[in-house]
Amino acid sequence: MHHEQTKVLRELQELEFAALELNLYLDTHPEDQDALKTFNEVVTRLAKARINYEEKHGPLLNFGFCAPRQVGWQWIEEPWPWEI
């Protein structure tokens, strides 16, 4: 796997992890406004990182949860996560 892809993938994993962790925390602390604010900041950064990754390396999600595909059907292209 290309070094650049490893790097942007790592950034994406970090942002998604922050979002997941805040999501779980908010599930049991829905009244915490500070956590909600942080969650919203992460969501904004994550959306940008996803667009950036998908433009270069193809869709992250199946079933249409991606931008319209202009360059062909990249979904089935390698590498699959367990092959990286």
């Binding site: 993938l9 790592r10 994993q13 997941l20 999501n23 779980l24 049991t28 999600l61 996560p81 367990w82």
Partner: protein
């Protein structure tokens, strides 16, 4: 509805092929306190939980457990990749090869297939959440044993991440238990 995201939650790197370690890791793939058990247990319990916090938390933690199942699968796949039948046999995976070839299979470290008998749902949120908290501690202990069994720094790093997640899940289930108990007491007396 679930979507598949074409990435791992956390990177998996392995330094060397290690068939014995692959065999040990099977306990988290298809063993009693493994990631598959956790995912099926939580995603099955959520339907009859009494509060929205409980439904949400079980949905989200159950989904995260599936991502951990994929991480464990990736570790086993990489640790076994390219092994010959003779090498598998010497590592105690000869019977695995006989039954499954190079494929993965949800069985424990001794080859016993995964069964729904490992999990429970009582329809009693206090009993179920206590059971889930115990399950998280059992998974944490298992990850500590697995960390002790390898000196591969990359593998240990990913196992430490998974161990830490069990600690967080335990914490969230504890908060949920308090909340659900408060909810049930308020229903009983007022």
């Amino acid at each position: 509805m679930w979507l598949y995201e074409k990435k791992l939650q956390y990177p998996v790197k392995v330094s060397n092929r290690d068939l014995r370690m692959a065999k040990f890791l099977l306990t988290q793939y298809g063993g009693p306190d493994g990631e598959l058990s956790a995912a099926v247990k939580y995603l099955n319990q959520r339907y009859t939980m009494p509060t929205n916090r409980a439904k949400g938390t079980l949905t989200d933690i159950g989904t995260e457990e599936l991502a951990h199942w994929e991480i464990i699968a990736t570790m086993i796949y990489k640790l076994m990749k390219g092994a010959t039948p003779e090498e598998l046999r010497r590592a105690g995976l000869g019977s695995h090869y006989a039954m499954h070839g190079d494929a993965l299979f949800p069985a424990d470290a001794n080859g016993v297939p995964w069964t729904a008998a490992y999990i429970q749902a009582h329809g009693d949120p206090v009993a179920d959440l206590q059971d889930n908290m115990a399950g998280e501690q059992k998974a944490r202990a298992t990850y500590e044993h697995l960390i002790d069994l390898t000196d591969d720094p990359d593998l240990r790093d990913t196992l430490r991440f998974l161990r830490e997640r069990e600690v967080v899940h335990f914490q969230r289930f504890g908060e949920l238990l308090d909340h659900v108990q408060g909810y049930m007491n308020s229903k009983k007396y007022f």
